[in-house]
Amino acid sequence: MRTMRKFLKTLNKSKWGYIFVAPWIVGFAVFSVYPLWLGIKMTFMNYNLVAPQSMKFTGFQNWINGLMDITFWKSLLNILYNQAIFIVLTFFIALLVAYLLFKISSGNKFWNAFFRSAYFVPTITSVVVVMLVLGNISAPYGPLQTILVKWHILSQPIVWNLTPILIMPVIAIITSWMSFGMQAIILLGGLGTIPPEYTEAARIDGAKERTIFWRITFPLLRPQIIFIMVMNAIGGLQMFTQVYVNFGTAGGPDQAGMTPVLYIYDQGLTKFQMGYASTLGFILSGIIIIATVITLRVLQER
C-alpha cells in the first residue's frame, strides 16, 4: 500500500515530463515502429500496392531474389565508387577551407563573417537547383568545357552524362561543391575548441607549421571528423535526388547512374512491388549500419 502511494506520488510529480515527451514517443510508434513491423511482414510477401488482393506469402523468396539481384549490387558498387571520390575530395577541401577560415578568425570581424557565410551558401541551395545549374556548367557546350577546349586541356567536349565511367565522378564533384562548406564549418568549430597553448608550445620548440597541423591539430579534430564520416556513411549511401534529376528511374546509360535508393524507388513506386522493394530497403539498411559501425571502429581507435 505504501509503495503504491509512493509510486503514485512519483508519477504525479513526474507527470509533465512524461506528457512532454509523449508526442515523440507516439510519433515514433506510429511512423517508425509500426512501419518497421509492416516492412518486416512485407519482406515475406508478394505485395502489389495497386492489386492488394493478389497478396501472397512467399517465404524467403524476396530475400533470395534481393541478395542475387545484379542491378541492386551494381547500384551499390556505383554509390561506393561515388562515395570514395566524394568523401576524400570533400573532406580535404573542407579541411583546407576550415584551416584558412581559422587563420583569419583573429583578423577583421567583417571579413571573417563574410567568408564564413559565403562558403556556406552552396549548402542552403536545393539539390534540384544545384543539379540544374552545375549540370549546365559542365554540359558539353557549357562554360566549363568551352574554356577547357579553348585552352587545349580537352581535345573535344565530353557528354559526361552519357559516358558511364564519368557519371559517378562528376556527380561526386557536384555534390562535393554543395557539401564542403558545411563540413568546413563543422571542422572550424572543432579548431576553435583546441587550446592555443598546445600549438604555441610546439611553435616555440621550433616545429614547422605543417608538422604542428598534422601532429597536434588534426588528431584533436577527431570528434568532428567522426561526426562528418558517420554522416557520410548514413547520408551518402542513400543518394537519390542527384541521380533522379539526371536520369529518372532508368539510372542512365548502362545503369551507371543507378543508386540503391533509386532502384528501390523504381521497384516500389513504378513497379509497385512493395514486398521486394521493402526487402531491398532492409538489405541496404544492413549495409549502411555495417558501414557506420566500421567507420566508428576505425576512427575511435587510438
Partner: protein, 275 residues
C-alpha cells in the same frame, strides 16, 4: 611573431578569395543567365554579362508556370512542419533538459540510438501505410509524419541545459507548474535555438524533393522543387533562360533569409561533434 601572423592571415585571405570564385561562380552565372537572351546563352556560354539585358526569362516563367501557387503550397507545408516542430520539439527538449522523471536517461539514450537508423528502412513501409490510409496526394502525408524530430530536440536540449536551474527553482517555489515554467521562462530564454531550428526545418522542407515527389501527384499541389524539376524537362532549349529565372526565383527566398539570419544557420553546425 605578430608580423608573421599578419603575413599568414594575408595569405589566407588570398587563398580564400580564389576559392570563393569557384564557390560563388555558379550563383553569379545563374543570376546573369536569367537576364540573357537565348541566342547569347547558346552561342556564348562563357559570357557572364547579359548583353542585351532582357526580362524575357522572368516573363516567360510567370506565364508558363504558376510560381505563386508553388510558393503557396511550399509555404503551407514548410510552415506547418516548422510550427509543429517548434512546439513539440521544445516540449520534449524541456522535459529532457530540466525535468526529472524515471526512465529519462534510458529514453534519451534510445533517442540517440534512433539517429543511427537509416531512413531508407522506413521509406517503402511508410509509403505503403500512408497509401492505404488514403494520405497520398494530401499535404498531411508530408506534414504529420515529420511533426517532431529528434535532431532538433537534441539541439534544443543542449541549449536549454545552459539555462540556470535557480531560475526554474525560484519559479517553482512561487508555485509555478511545469507548463507555466515552459511557456514563461524556457521559451523566452530559448529564442536563439528556436530560431536556428525554425530556419533549418523550414529550409529542409523548402528544399525537399523526395517527399513531394513521393506523395504529391496533382500539379496543383506541387512544391517549388518538384514544380521546377517537372517544368525543366518540358522547356525547349530555345527558351532556356526561363529555366534560369526559375532557379533564381526558388533559391532567392532561402538566400534572403540566410543573408539576414546567417549566424543562426552557422550556429547549428558550429558545435557538432561525436564523442
Amino acid at each position: 611573431m605578430i608580423r608573421q601572423e599578419r603575413n599568414e592571415r594575408i595569405r589566407a585571405y588570398i587563398f580564400l578569395s580564389i576559392g570563393l570564385i569557384i564557390t560563388l561562380y555558379p550563383f553569379v552565372l545563374m543570376v546573369m543567365s536569367s537576364f540573357m537572351t537565348p541566342s547569347q546563352l547558346i552561342n556564348n556560354p562563357s559570357m557572364i554579362i547579359p548583353m542585351p539585358f532582357t526580362l524575357s526569362g522572368y516573363i516567360g516563367l510567370f506565364k508558363n508556370l504558376d510560381v505563386l501557387l508553388l510558393f503557396k503550397n511550399t509555404i503551407i507545408i514548410a510552415g506547418s512542419v516548422t510550427l509543429l516542430n517548434l512546439f513539440f520539439d521544445s516540449l520534449a527538449a524541456f522535459a529532457l533538459a530540466k525535468l526529472k522523471f524515471p526512465g529519462k536517461n534510458a529514453l534519451f539514450g534510445f533517442m540517440l540510438f534512433t539517429l543511427m537508423i537509416p531512413g531508407v528502412l522506413f521509406f517503402i513501409p511508410t509509403y505503403t501505410m500512408l497509401y492505404n490510409w488514403g494520405w497520398v496526394n494530401h499535404y498531411r502525408a508530408l506534414i504529420i509524419p515529420s511533426f517532431v524530430q529528434f535532431y532538433s530536440i537534441f539541439l534544443m536540449k543542449q541549449f536549454m541545459e545552459q539555462i540556470p536551474d535557480d531560475v526554474i527553482e525560484a519559479a517553482r517555489i512561487d508555485g509555478a507548474s511545469d507548463p507555466l515554467i515552459y511557456s514563461r521562462i524556457i521559451l523566452p530564454m530559448s529564442v536563439p535555438v528556436l530560431a536556428t531550428i525554425a530556419i533549418l526545418t523550414f529550409m529542409g522542407a523548402w528544399n525537399d524533393f523526395f517527399g513531394p515527389l513521393l506523395y504529391l501527384r496533382s500539379p496543383s499541389l506541387w512544391t517549388v522543387q518538384l514544380g521546377l524539376q517537372m517544368f525543366s524537362s518540358t522547356i525547349p532549349s530555345q527558351y532556356i533562360q526561363v529555366l534560369w529565372a526559375g532557379e533564381v526565383v526558388i533559391t532567392l527566398p532561402i538566400l534572403i533569409v540566410f543573408l539576414f539570419l546567417q549566424k543562426y544557420f552557422i550556429q547549428a553546425f558550429a558545435n557538432v561533434s561525436f564523442k
